[in-house]
């Protein structure tokens, strides 16, 4: 049985892929921003000695880690207008949902990175009279960030792939566009192959850059 591959169809509809990839990139961009900013805040709160900051952060993080993201996305989409009267578009809602989800994981990456710094570094910073903000900024974070980069890139790559869940909110990201295309062309194998390659092209540069950065830091210290 010789299957006849036909990538000509994919090429003919390349505009569709580009259009989908742009939406995917937009979703990734905004959800990364939301996830990183909120994640840093949650990570700091989680480490706080103040229980009024620590517990809400812990509840948030565990709730988002313990429930399916598909449920989170749909839930946020339908509940936002009811809870806070905010009606967002499909794309915005999806970006916010992904961002809120990523924040839980980024908070944990942040916490693990900060906790991995030797206690002696805190002692030394305090002993020269540093206070918490300068100690974080000058001594702890510069070291912790190096350890956070690999898991962060990992989370980022996961996030790019999670944008494909946008299809449940009828967001025309890459996979959703591709599925529509399959319904018109009956070329699932070629189109899924193209989707896989498109994702790999988007994700791999970040993995490569992360590896180079790690290497650079290893050489220097």
């Amino acid at each position: 049985m010789g299957y006849v591959w036909d990538f000509q169809t994919v090429w003919d509809y390349r505009q569709v892929f580009v259009r989908g990839a742009v939406i995917t990139a937009e979703l990734t961009f905004w959800s990364t921003i939301i996830g990183t900013v909120l994640g840093l805040m949650l990570g700091l709160m989680r480490r706080s000695t103040n229980a009024a900051l620590r517990y809400p952060a812990a509840v948030y993080i565990e709730a988002f880690r313990a429930t399916p993201i598909l449920v989170q996305l749909v839930w946020i989409y339908y509940s936002m207008p009811i809870l806070i009267g905010l009606q967002m578009g499909n794309i915005a809602s999806c970006a916010v949902g992904l961002g809120l989800h990523a924040a839980a994981y980024i908070a944990e990456i942040f916490r693990a990175g900060v906790n991995s710094i030797d206690k002696g570094q805190w002692d030394a910073a305090r002993a020269i009279g540093m206070r918490y903000p300068e100690m974080m900024r000058r001594i702890i974070l510069p070291q912790a960030v190096r350890r956070m980069i690999p898991p962060f890139i990992n989370e980022f790559a996961t996030l790019i792939k999670l944008t494909t869940l946008g299809s449940v909110l009828a967001v025309n990201e890459l996979l959703h566009e591709a599925t529509n295309l399959i319904n018109n062309t009956y070329r699932p194998l070629e189109i899924y192959t193209a989707v896989a390659i498109a994702f790999a092209i988007m994700i791999y540069p970040f993995i490569y850059a992360s590896q180079r950065l790690e290497q650079h830091w290893r050489v220097r210290s």
């Binding site: 002696g120 570094q121 002692d123 305090r126 002993a127 020269i128 210290s221």
Partner: protein, 256 residues
């Protein structure tokens, strides 16, 4: 002028149910070199760490230059945690040298030394660098200024650690077993720097197992055991004619 720069009264500290400091009374005068010796687990390092409040004590007082360290006294006499700013400003004036050096690994030796002066004291970078170069010259690291700590031997790292503490121009230097993590052949170079510092009149409190240093450099030796001070005396007396049986026993063990 011999009024004490540090005055410690009935200092107590618990870790959970275990009491590690059982009421320490001690005064340290300006320019004095005080060496604290005693068996492991006797509370020497904890005592030292309470002095600049890296460790919170739970009873008694540490007065540094007349100021209560780490707490302020409420009108009803209870101790309240002092503000982070005041605690930090007291720490600025007490240099500390650690057993494991604790240099900042992402900074060069020079950057380590100027970090405190520039970031905490807000001294101009050029001035801080000039002071730092002079200090590093003094501890014999003039040719290692731009190296990262990981490229240095233990002895060199510890001398850089001493320079980093001195850069803050502290009133007191605290040494927490500064040579315990060093290979034997590197101990001497660190002790030499400390001796020179003592000769310059620096007030020093040194927790150490180096009995030779205690004998040669200390003005007074404090012997601790089980969370208490069992004996305080000039080194000549401690090493030739100690008054406590536990001191005799301890010295017999460490001096073979």
């Amino acid at each position: 002028m011999t009024y004490p720069i540090l005055k410690i009264a009935n200092l107590q500290k618990h870790f959970g149910n275990h009491q590690v400091l059982k009421g320490i009374d001690l005064e340290v005068n300006r320019g004095e070199v005080l060496v604290i010796i005693g068996p492991s687990g006797s509370g020497k390092s904890t005592l030292l760490r309470c002095l600049n409040f890296l460790e919170e004590y739970d009873h008694g007082q540490v007065l540094f230059d007349g100021q209560l360290v780490g707490y302020r006294i409420a009108p009803d006499g209870r101790l309240l945690r002092d503000s982070a700013r005041r605690v930090a400003s007291i720490r600025e004036r007490m240099g500390m040298v650690f057993q494991s050096f604790n240099l900042f690994p992402h900074m060069t030796v020079l950057e380590n030394v100027i970090e405190g002066p520039v970031v905490v004291k807000k001294i101009k970078r050029a001035d801080a660098e000039r002071d730092a170069r002079r200090l590093l010259e003094r501890v014999g690291l003039g040719n290692k200024i731009d190296e990262y700590p990981s490229k240095l031997s233990g002895g060199q790292q510890q001398r850089a650690g001493i320079a980093r503490a001195l850069a803050m121009k502290p009133d007191v230097m605290l040494f927490d077993e500064p040579t315990s993590a060093l290979d034997p052949e590197l101990v001497g170079e660190v002790l030499e720097v400390m001796k020179a510092l003592a000769a310059d009149g620096m007030t020093m409190i040194v927790v150490t197992h180096e009995m030779g240093f205690a004998r040669d450099v200390a003005d007074r030796v404090v012997v601790m055991d089980d969370g208490t001070i069992i004996e305080t005396a000039p080194p000549a007396r401690i090493f030739s004619n100690p008054s406590q049986a536990r001191t005799v026993e301890f010295l017999k063990r460490v001096l073979h």
